[in-house]
Subunit: 274 residues, 2 copies
């Protein structure tokens, strides 16, 4: 085989690492693939770490020791995260997207790959240190963002359903009070999670917090602890939600009028003022 | 600013390109970012094309002319695609995953980021040339794979629902005959797609084809043409489906017995024999 150049090795390595976020690659697996010495690979990885830092392309981390290797984390810098969410807020604000009843149409953005991947990376960046074992969402609209978050964290996605399905096997069902005050069912396959795991809840929309509270209760049934809750959008009202400690990327306020207007702002924790 | 080395430029460029599949990046945008001449960037891109080919990491394509630039396509080679699906078949075959009623539990694999991304890339590879404008799926289980396909194709994902929702705006509803013979409703927001677009249908499971046929009819209501249909899994029986021209990644056969056994095989178009 022809000798592989440093620029070729480095490009291929960054691509492979970033295709499997948060997965440990051993140095020897790369040595074997590229036919290089460990010292050479270490230099390549140091150079890649600088590339990632310089161009704000995530973080390359090395783990030393016998079980060591290199990990890619798609961490987004605060400036980039805030800037990205600001552009989304601009797209969502105004009159055009307000629907009858004071709802906002944004299903398109919730399944636009580029927007969804960036939102997932921003949420993942916030919760790496919480070391969740999986991401939990409730069907349907939040699934793409929850999947992108799980992808960035390198953990599975778990989807709770409105009812149990024959192809999910035996399930745990709970009842919860939805935003409109009705009693709804939430169902999760027994096979989906294990006792004592750690869950990160991700969903598209937080208003009163009924569904989110349901998910917390569902996790309690499985003896799973909830390490955090993230939402794409939270309404300004009601101020008091049924859950606490949640983080939303944007806040939504609908101003009455004819036509009504949506005011969508980046969350304060993302874009700190001053 | 310090002079950027070729290995740094190339690594950063491949990462940026692969973060936005199928998006055209102009040469001048990279020239500006790296402070390099066009001739230098062209050499870098040629070198990246060889890297992608050598390590089976997708395709780098260049578009010449005034509106030209460079595009990354996460194309998977036939050998890699077949090998990957074979490993999934091994995980799914056997007795452990068979549920009462002859169903197979594989929801975990349908939301495991690495498996989902690879399946999405395999489907996208097959349908690039059909130039779909969006990917259509029906809630819920197929959403992650459909999203990964949309991501690889660089197009939006559109999700049909079982009923219309207030936050989706005005919708088109159709009725269709489900696999169990019952009449079901399928709903899609009017804002979700435009007339004369091209849809690629992606879903998790094909048995009789009732839901798939429903999606085709839904697209007809929007004057959208369906350029293809891809499924993660298709049952061997019934042989005759209500749709045609579909491609599944795997086929499923449940062998009766105590306990029953699942035989999951890679589809013939993926792993050609001989």
């Amino acid at each position: 085989m022809e000798k592989i150049r440093r620029n070729e090795r480095m490009s291929a390595m960054l691509k492979m690492l970033s295709d499997s976020p948060n997965r440990l690659f051993t140095l020897s697996s790369f040595c074997e693939l590229f036919g290089s010495a460990k010292s050479t690979m270490s230099e390549d990885i140091d150079a890649l770490r600088r590339v990632a830092d310089t161009f704000d392309l995530g973080k390359i981390e090395t783990v030393t020791g016998a079980a060591g290797g290199v990990i890619y984390r798609p961490v987004i810098s605060p400036a980039k995260a805030c800037g990205y969410i600001e552009t989304l807020c601009d797209r969502l604000s105004g009159q055009e997207r307000v629907l009858p009843g004071g709802f906002l149409y944004y299903s398109d953005i919730l399944s636009e790959p580029e927007a969804v991947n960036r939102m997932g990376e921003i949420i993942a960046t916030e919760y790496y240190t919480g070391t969740p074992d999986f991401v939990l969402t409730m069907e349907t609209k939040g699934i793409p963002v929850a999947f992108a978050t799980a992808n960035a964290l390198g953990v599975p996605l778990v989807i709770a359903r409105h009812s149990s399905k024959v192809y999910e096997g035996s399930a745990v069902n709970i009842n919860y009070v939805s935003g409109s005050g009705s009693i709804e069912t939430m169902s999760l396959s027994r096979r989906a999670v294990k006792e004592n795991q750690r869950a990160l809840i991700v969903d598209d929309f937080l208003k009163g917090g009924g569904t989110a509270k349901g998910m917390v209760e569902l996790m309690r049934e499985f003896n799973v602890s909830v390490i955090g809750m993230a939402f794409v959008m939270a309404t300004v009202n009601p101020v008091k939600k049924r859950v606490s400690g949640e983080k939303a990327l944007m806040t939504l306020e609908i101003r009455d009028g004819d036509p009504a207007e949506a005011i969508v702002r980046p969350a304060e924790w993302l874009c700190r003022i001053g």
